[in-house]
Every structure is written in C-alpha cells, then in structure tokens.
C-alpha cells in the first residue's frame, strides 16, 4: 500500500502540469471557446490540484509515520562517462514542502476565482497558476542540482509571466523585466556554482557533493577558498530568488502582478525556494564555515533592511512585500547558523500567515476598487483606507490574526518560529540575535501601523491619498468609483482567508521549544515520530528570558504603533515629523534603486552608448565588432550566390578539382 503510494508520487507535479497543458493548449488552439469556459477550466485545474494535495498529505503522513525516504531516478542523458539522472526524492523535507505548496496553491486558486472573476485573462491566469504549481512541486522533489536548476528557471519563468500578467500596464511590464534581469544575476551564479561543484566533485546529488567535498577538503585536494567560493556562487541563486540584499529590489516591484500571485509566488512558495535550496545544500555548507557566515549576515542584514523600509510604505502590498523580504532574511539567517530546521519552521508558518495577509490585502483592494475605481495606485494606498473593520469584518479579523502571528505574539504561529530562530542565532552569535531582535520590534510596529491604517479609525476615501499632498502625483487619473463604501468580498475569497487563519494560529504548536516535533521530524529521518516532551531538562529560565525579550520588544513596537496611528489619521505621518531624514531614507528604500540606477544601470547604459558610438566611429579594427564583421562577411558572401546556375556549376567543378588536389597532395 505504502509502496504503491510512493510509486505514484510523480503524479504530484504532473497533475498540475497536465491541467496547465490542457488549458494552455485549449487557449492556443481554440482561444475564444476555451476562455468562454472560464469556470470549467478553473474546476478542472482545482480538481487536479486537489488530487495532488491529497497525495502530498498522504506522502507527508507516511513520512511522519517513519517511512524511509524514497528516491526514484531514471537516466535522462548519458554521454560516455557523463551521466545525468532525473527523478524525485520524497523525504521529510520535500514532503513537508509538498504539503505547504499544495495547500497554499489550492487555497490561492479558490481565492482567485473570486478575485479574477471579471478579468479577461481568467482562464490564462489559472493555466499559469497551475504551471507554476507544477514547477514548484518539481523543484521541491528534485534529487539533484541540475534538476533543481531546471525547475528553478521554470518557476522563475512563471513568475515573470505572472508579474507581467497585465501586460498592458507599463509598470507591470517593467516590473517583469526587472525581476527577469535581477534573477538572471542570481541564476548565473547558481549555474556557475553547480558547475563548480560538479567540476570539483563529479557529483550532482546533494549528499554526493557533500561527501566528496568533505573528503576533498580533508585530503587537501580542494582548497578551502575555492569550495567557499562555489558555495557563495550557489548562494547567489537564493539571494536573487529569495530577495536578499543586494538583489532584493525586484520583489516589491513584482507586486504589480495580481494579488493572488503575490500571495502564492512572492510570499509563500517561490521566494522560499531559495531557503529550501539552502536547506538541501546544508550537508555541503556544513563544511564551509565562511560561506555560512556570509549567508547568516546576508540574512540578518536583509531582515533589518526590509523592516526599516516597511516602516513607511503607503502601498499596502509594497509594505507586505518588504515585510516578506525581512522575514525571508530571518529564514536565511537561520540557515546561516546551520540550523535548517528553524528556518524551515519559519518558512512553514510564514507561508501560511503571509499568504493569508496577502490574500487579505487583496480582499481589501477588491473592496477599495468598488470605491476608488480600478486604479492600483489609489486602491492600494493605505492613506485612502481606514475603518474597513466595519465593512469587511472577516477580512479584518483574519488580517489581525496574521498581524499578531507575524509580530510574534504567543501563541500564534509566528511566535514559536521566530523565537526559535532568535534562539539559535543567539547561540551562534549575539550580534545576529541583536539585529533579529531589533527587527522584531520594527516588525511589530509596521504591521500594526498597516493594520491600524487599513482597518482602524474612520473610512477616509480619497481624502489623504496620493494626490492629496502633491497634486501632480495623480494629475492625469480621474476617479470613477461606483460605490461610496467598500464591501466585504465574496465567499470564494473569504473562505481561503478563514481556512488559512487556522494554521496561522495553530501550526506553531508543532515546534514548541520544549517539545519540538518539527525539529525532530526534519533532523532524524527514518524513525517514527516520538517526542517525549523534555520538560524536565528544559531550561525554562533561558526560554522565558529569550521569549520575554522578544515579546517585550514586540509589545513596545505595537504600543508605539497605537500611539502614532491609533487616533485619527490626519494625513501627516508622525514619523515624518519627528525624524524627517530617517523617514525619507526609509520611504525611498535606502535609495537603493537610485543607487543601482546610478552605479550600475547608468554606467552600463553609458558604456553601451559609447560602445555604440565607437562602433560608428571606428568600424574596423576593434575586436568587439566581430558581430558587425560577421554581418558584413555575410553581406559580401551572399553575393557569391549571383543567381546564375552556370556559375554554380563552375564553382562545383573548381571545388572538385581543388579537393582532388588537396587530398592527393596531403
């Protein structure tokens, strides 16, 4: 029975792929007809996803019961000694990821039915969603680095497709392009890293690489700095995909995509792929302490930077995006101190509560659109909101749960996982802990600021929105709302919110510090889960100190938020009044975009222009003109084909004579 279950594990990614293929082919060949089906497509894709979910849960449960990890490989390509295998591996880590991805994906799909109900691209959207889920599941199941890379690119491609889903919006197109370019940097590093490890070890499987690296390092055959370099190159992939500094800039812009996408891809699953890869590579990284240091500090700095920027964002989705960056920083930091279980734990809790927060923000935007019209700038600006608790009770309640979870208030899920990370960070390096601790305070502040601006107080409409302060901001847009008050979203949208609220509250309980089922599950594979709560040997004092300090700073943040935003919002930011420089610094995202523009984009563009000018000036003689030379050669050579058949015959004869001479002489 169980063996049969594992033999059908390949269906998990294949079923969504099937759905995407069917709908996609339909859209391409019978476009009109297929898009008219709408719900039909959605139901098909939902059904297939449901089967995937069931299978994933079954696999997960079997792993919980202590089934051995299952690996299945087939030879994909052989070329002499080079042997490329593809396949799938179901172990505890991947089965856990399967469940996370499939549940969030299914709920997001249900939600999308409501959110995208009036969109022209409804069916296309579902096809993309399904394609993305398939790629993500394939990534999770990958047994080796090459397959990871293939699916890595696939999820990336889906991400660009979905960011640019509304391709008629300039901002969406530009955001997709930015995501593409930034991710290219990371993927290039990842590819180099993979090739490097293959060159050094001749292995592509994770454990294989780890064993060989250990051997080679021990034997001194591989210098430490080279291995460290490869490790950092591989880490570049997660840096881009999981939006770590300095490659985080694409994620906030990616919010131009439809909100369900932001929830699924840019909060819960794809951006976590980087963390997942780090967890998979952990056996290798364990031998590379310097790389781990880099990982840890990158994560810590990202957590801090994301939180500081999130403090002042007015766009609800951008705010959540920076919060995601910050939380991903936590996870990466946990990986950096070589405690993957803690990072994965936070990945799981974050997936649920952040998906819920994003879907909640989508619900808010959906409600706002009824008032301010279909303009993303206005509908997503928190200065236009306020008092939504009255109009959207379910959304408000679930959003509050999510907020409490991310702020780390016990017993919500985020408390346990964040506390775990802070704990392990403290054991590794108190500096890391300090950054994480400060960030936790800021997190509490900006999340409650967001909550209060959106749901607290009175509904403001366009009173303080964009344009209220600076008219030219919106000079060209006109308002065309069709209702005076926002409304609660339909059931298909609220239901996923309510369902996601459950894990957001409860899922943290599997990783209690004194009865850590989660850590046990991940770190001791192959044995049935039997955790005896180690209450006796547990250091309550230390726990209370750590937890108390982080809850304490969280409470301080919340209090500050209430003081600043609890009353009537006057349109003037309290922070902006008190710390104008810091406020501007944060609002402008540390001026990083401008910095990149000035230091990379502009010089590159200038270089390109100069190269172009040189092109024109000195046509011959420069090596980088090969392209032009090739073109010119082609232009010249093509006139050899003068259209006269007798010339052709002559050429043939001359060639024959020439060949006789050459081969006769040689």
């Amino acid at each position: 029975m169980e063996q049969a279950l594992y033999q059908y594990a390949w269906l998990v990614p294949v079923l969504p792929l099937l759905g995407a293929t069917l709908v996609g082919t339909g859209l391409i060949t019978f476009g009109e007809w297929t898009s008219r089906l709408r719900r039909g497509n959605a139901v098909l894709i939902l059904l297939l996803m449901g089967v995937s979910l069931t299978l994933s849960v079954a696999l997960f449960w079997s792993q919980v019961l202590g089934h051995d990890p299952y690996t299945w490989n087939f030879t994909w390509a052989v070329a002499g000694p080079f042997h490329l295998e593809m396949g799938l591996v179901v172990d505890r880590l991947s089965s856990l990821m399967l469940v996370i991805v499939t549940t969030v994906a299914l709920l997001v799909m249900i939600y999308s039915d409501g959110y995208m109900a009036h969109d022209r691209g409804y069916s296309r959207f579902f096809a993309y969603l399904s394609l993305f889920s398939a790629s993500m599941l394939g990534l999770v199941l990958s047994p080796n680095l090459v397959q990871v890379y293939v699916f890595w690119e696939l999820v990336g491609m889906c991400s660009y497709l979905l960011i640019g889903f509304w391709y008629d919006r300039v901002a969406a197109r530009e955001a997709a392009q930015k995501a593409f370019v930034v991710n290219r940097v990371g993927d290039f590093g990842l590819l180099l890293g993979i090739l490097g490890f293959y060159w050094a070890t001749g292995q592509l499987e994770f454990t294989g690489i780890a064993d060989r690296v250990a051997e080679l390092l021990a034997a001194g055959a591989l210098p430490m700095w080279v291995a460290t370099g490869f490790g950092i190159l591989v880490f570049l992939g997660p840096v881009a995909k999981s939006a770590q500094v300095p490659l985080h800039v694409w994620l906030p812009d990616a919010m131009e995509g439809p909100t369900p996408i932001s929830a699924l891809i840019h909060a819960a699953t794809m951006v976590a792929a980087g963390v997942f890869l780090l967890a998979r590579m952990m056996p290798v990284y364990e031998h590379l302490p310097v790389t781990l240091q880099v990982v840890a500090w990158t994560g810590a700095f990202t957590a801090f930077l994301g939180a500081t920027i999130a403090l002042t964002q007015n766009d609800i989705k951008k705010g959540l995006a920076y919060s995601t960056i910050s939380q991903l920083g936590y996870m990466v930091m946990a990986m950096g101190v070589a405690v993957p279980a803690a990072g994965m734990f936070h990945l799981m809790t974050h997936a649920y509560f952040k998906a819920m927060l994003f879907l909640g923000s989508g619900s808010v935007i959906h409600g706002m659109e009824a008032v301010v019209g279909h303009d993303p700038i206005k509908a997503q600006d928190m200065r236009n909101m306020g008092g939504l608790r009255k109009y959207m009770p379910i959304t408000a309640a679930t959003f509050l749960i999510g907020t409490l979870a991310i702020c780390g208030i016990p017993p919500f899920a985020g408390f346990w996982s964040k506390d775990e990370i802070l704990h392990v960070a403290f054991e590794a390096n108190w500096g890391l802990w300090l950054v994480g601790w400060l960030t936790a305070g800021m997190t509490a502040f900006y999340m409650f600021r967001m909550y209060l601006l959106t749901f607290g107080g009175e509904f403001r409409g366009l009173a303080f929105g964009p344009g209220a302060m600076q008219v030219e901001e919106l000079a060209h847009t006109e308002t065309h709302g069709h209702a005076s008050e926002p409304h609660e979203s339909p059931l298909t949208m609220t239901l996923p919110l309510v369902i996601l609220a459950v894990p957001s509250v409860l899922v943290g309980l599997v990783g209690l510090p004194f009865a850590n089922y989660f850590e046990h599950f991940l770190e001791e594979p192959g044995s049935a889960l039997q955790v005896v709560p180690e209450l006796a040997g547990f250091d309550w004092g230390e726990f209370l100190l750590m937890a108390g300090s982080s809850v304490g700073i969280g409470l301080i943040g919340i209090t500050l938020a209430f003081v600043s935003y609890g009353g009537k919002f006057t349109g003037v930011e309290p922070l902006a009044e008190r710390f104008p420089t810091l406020y501007e610094f944060s609002l402008n995202k540390w001026y990083l975009d401008e910095l990149y523009e000035r230091w990379f984009a502009l010089p590159l563009r200038r270089l390109a222009r100069q190269a172009l000018e040189t092109d024109y000036r000195i046509i011959d003689g420069l090596v980088n003109l090969t392209g032009l030379v090739t073109l010119v050669t082609g232009e010249v050579l093509k006139y050899l084909n003068n259209g006269r058949v007798q010339t052709y015959a002559l050429v043939i004869l001359v060639a024959v004579l020439g060949l006789v001479l050459v081969s006769g002489l040689s």
Binding site: A77, N641, A649, A655, L659
Partner: protein, 527 residues
C-alpha cells in the same frame, strides 16, 4: 588478352562461387527486405489510379491514403527492425538497422510534407493527385537510396529521388520563380550526378569490374591501391555528388534559390527527407568503399563541415525572406551534421541519426508555420511577420519554438541534438570542428532570435501591413486542419524530444552498433 594500362594491376579474381547462383529464385532475392518500399509503391499506384478514375473528387481522400501508406511503411520498417539483418537482391539492398532508421525518417518526412501540402496545393489551383504521386516517388527513391549497397541501385535510387524532386520544385508551373528553381535544381543536380557517376565508373574500373560496394572495397584492398590517385579522384567525385544532396558548401549554391522559388511543402521535404537519404548514402558508401582512404574522406568532410557551418550561418544573417533564411540555416545545420560524419566514430553516426530525427520535426514545424503564414498573409518576408503574436498565437508559439530549437536553446530538442554531436566531436578529438560549431551556433541564435523578436516584441503600432490585414483565424477550409495537426505534432515533438533524448539515443546507438558494415569502424573506435 587486351592490353591494360600500367596503373591497373589486376589481381586474378576468384572464380564465381556457385554457378547455381545464376538461376535465382524469388525467395533467394529476399524480397521481404523491400516490403516497406513496395508498400509505398503500391500506395502511389493507388493514388495515381484513383486520381485518374475520379479526378479531383478523389483528392478528398487520397491524401489520407498516401499518409496511411507511408505510415504503413514505417510500421513495416518497425517489424523489419526486429527481424535478423537481411540482404536483399543478392546483396544489392541491405536491410540493416542504420538503413531502417534512415528509411523511416524519409518516409516520415514524406508523410508530413503531404499533410502540409494539401491546402497549399489546393490554393495554388494545381492537381493534388499528381503532387502526391511525385512526392511518393521521391520518397521511394530516398528510401531505396538509404538501403542500397550496389552502384547501379545507388544511381537509380538517387536519380529517382532527384528527378521527382526537380518536378516537385517546378510544380507551380505558372510561377516563373518555381520554373527557375526547377531549372536550376535540375541542371545542378544533373551535373552533380554526372560527376558522381564518373566517380562510380572509375570505381568500377579500378576494382576490375565490381559494382557491389563491399566487393569494390575488397578489390581495392587486394590490389593495394586504396591511396592511389585514381581512388582519390573517384572519392572526390563521389563526395561531390553526395555533397550536392547534403547541400554542403561549396556544393550548396542551388539551395537558397531552389528553396526560395519552390513550393514550400516541397522545400520542407527536400530539407529533411532528401538530406536524410543523402546522409544514409554518405555513411554507407564512404565507410564501405573507402576504408583505406578514411583519413582523406574525413578530411574532406571536415573542410566541408567547417565551410558549411561558417558560410551557412553567416549568410543567413543577411536574409530578408524567411524561406531563404531557412535555406541558409539548413546549410548550416548540414554542417553540424557533417561533424558526425567527419569524425567517423560510432557515436558520431548515432548523433547524426538523433540530430536528423529532431531536425525532421523541428524543420518541418518551421516550414508548416511558413506555409500557414503565406496562406494567410501571402508573403514570406521576415519583416511582414512583425507583431504577429497579437493576431495568431498558435503560429507565434509554433514558429518561435521551432526556431529556438533550431538555434539550440535549451530545453528544446535542438539543444540536445547539438549537444550530442558536439560531445561526440569532442570525444573524438575534433576540437576545431566543435569550436567552429559552437561559435557558428551562437551566430545562428542571433538570426533565429531576430525572427522571433520580430514576431513577439513589436508594439501594436509597429505591426506590418500583412499582419494588420491578417484574416480571421478559421480552420474549416479543406486541408487546414491537417496543416494544423502537422504543426502541433511537430511542435510537440520539438518541445519534448529533448526530454526523451535517452531512449532515442539508445535506439540510434543500437542501430549503429548492430549494423554489419559499421563493425570495422566500431572495432577501431574500441581500441
């Protein structure tokens, strides 16, 4: 005793083995070896008869008959694969595994080109029945060519393929460009086959009157003249005839003109079927007859491969007509394929088979798109494709995938084809060839992407006139559903064949290792 020139030092021939051989029964001819070809011949006679008896009425179902016949031939080739390797017609025809795969490729190319052509030929107002008959004749010629092991048979098969192709090229007989293409093709084809034939006659004389390829090789070896000037002349003459079929530079000059002028479905067949047959002939003839001059013919093919890769890909950059671009691209692709020939290792031959299989579907898919576009927009100019994605998603997707696959972009199948060829080349130590191949395939990506960009990237206001006046997408005209089915099938294979590379490559490797005439080469490679 007539006086012989001193450069022929004839060794006494062995007496005829068995006088009973003179009277042969049908069973001894082993007719079973050509059952697939007989099926195609039967089909073409049926198509011809049906067309004669009920005229244009019949053209509703004869295409299906033709396709069923060709598929039947492929199926019977499958049966033949599992039977012990047999010699037919006293060794004139070899049903070995290498031949079987190449014959299958030719038959597949024929079937797909018929499906693509239905709408095109109807639109041009020409008769479909004759078109199919001639195409089937060409297919039979190609299939025989891939298996024949005797000079007379090689020549007749070559000319069957050739003459049918000339007719097909000129099939649009009211179109001056089609006329001109046919005339050029015929003249160059006739010249090349005359040179080829001259080479055969030299071989006949040098071997002291043998026409079977293996017997010639034995005689040449026994007289120890494998390196003599006469044999080298024969070698070069023979290569000239083959290189014409492969459109290898400098025997390529007819290719762009013929591709541009001929009806597009015909071009599709020529670019794939005719070339596959050419490669089959090249491998068999060179390996069997010239084992003593292996270095020389490998050197010749190395030069041809480099010239083809460079010239084909470089000149393709400057083309403005998509058909002409594909012509130069096919010259370049033939160059890549010739790497497998020039290195002469078993892996090389296997990678030729694998690449030819992928190239078949990719190139036919691209040509199906060209046909579809010219049916709807009436032009082949690349500029006229601008902005097409807004009007025709299927065509956009199909053409983009096929072109990117031709350019060798992973994970499309063309990438894997190139990968195996280059890998085989690298293993064999042909570094120059592989490097030239890599550089030129980078160049090739540039012009393929240019077309894709033209289709996909243009803003709505940059749309070309042809695309602005693009007709509504309808599929209910006779022949269009078949065209669409072919297109989708080709695109699907193009997209996924790379992922199924391993079984295909295993098949190709098995074919090479189990083919008798390649055994000496395999033994050399094993050392």
């Amino acid at each position: 005793m007539p006086q012989l020139p001193n450069w022929i030092n004839l060794v006494e021939k062995e007496p005829p083995e068995d006088l009973a051989m003179d009277v042969v029964s049908l069973a001894a001819l082993n007719t079973g070896t050509i059952v697939p070809e007989l099926l195609v011949i039967g089909t073409l006679l049926l198509v011809l008869l049906a067309d004669l008896l009920s005229g244009r009425q019949a053209s509703r179902w004869t295409p299906y008959l033709a396709v069923v016949g060709l598929i039947g031939a492929v199926v019977s080739l499958g049966f033949q694969w599992n039977m012990p390797v047999a010699e037919g017609f006293l060794g004139s025809f070899q049903a070995d595994h290498l031949g079987i795969l190449f014959r299958g490729l030719v038959a597949l190319a024929g079937a797909l080109s018929i499906l693509m052509a239905i709408r095109y030929v109807n639109e041009a107002g020409s008769a479909l029945g004759e078109y199919m008959t001639i195409l089937l004749v060409a297919t039979v010629g190609g299939m025989f060519l891939a298996g024949s092991d005797e000079m007379v048979m090689v020549f007749v098969a070559l000319e069957t393929l050739g003459l049918a192709s000339y007719l097909l090229a000129g099939y649009m007989k009211r179109d001056v460009r089609s006329n001109e293409a046919a005339l050029k093709y015929l003249l160059i084809g006739a010249t090349s086959s005359a040179i080829f034939l001259y080479g055969l006659s030299l071989l006949y004389g040098l071997s002291g009157g043998e026409t079977r390829l293996s017997a010639i090789a034995q005689q040449l070896a026994r007289q120890d003249i494998s390196q003599s000037l006469g044999v080298l002349m024969a070698l070069v003459f023979v290569i000239a005839g083959i290189a014409f079929k492969l459109s290898a530079v400098p025997f390529h000059q007819w290719t762009p003109d013929v591709y541009e002028g001929s009806p597009t479905p015909v071009v599709a067949f020529l670019s794939v079927g005719s070339k596959a047959a050419g490669f089959a002939l090249a491998i068999r003839l060179l390996v069997t007859v010239f084992p003593g001059a292996t270095e020389q013919w490998q050197f010749v093919f190395e030069s041809l491969a480099i010239l083809s890769m460079v010239l084909g890909n470089v000149v393709a950059l400057t083309q403005t007509s998509l058909k002409r671009l594909l012509a130069y691209s096919s010259i370049g692709q033939a160059g890549f394929l010739m790497i497998g020939l020039a290195i002469g290792t078993p892996e090389g031959y296997a990678s030729i088979l694998f690449y030819a299989f992928i190239y078949l579907f990719t190139n036919l898919g691209a040509f199906a798109c060209v046909i579809l576009f010219s049916l709807r927009a009436g032009t082949d100019e690349i500029n006229e494709y601008a902005g097409l994605y807004q009007k025709d998603p299927l065509l956009t997707l199909g053409l983009s995938l096929c072109l990117l696959s031709l350019g060798g972009i992973p994970p499309l199948s063309g990438f894997f084809g190139k990968l195996y060829i280059f890998w085989a080349g690298w293993q064999a130590g042909a570094y120059t060839l592989v490097l030239v191949g890599l550089v030129t395939s980078v160049i090739s990506i540039y012009y393929y992407i240019r077309v894709v960009r033209m289709i996909v990237v243009k803003e709505p206001q940059e749309m070309s006139l042809a695309v602005q006046n693009y007709p509504a997408l309808t599929w209910d005209m006779a022949g269009l559903p078949e065209l669409r089915a072919t297109l989708i099938a080709c695109v699907v294979v193009t997209a996924v064949a790379g992922l199924l590379a391993n079984p295909l490559l295993t098949l190709a490797n098995n074919a090479v290792t189990s083919t008798p005439f390649l055994q000496p080469q395999i033994q050399v490679a094993q050392k």
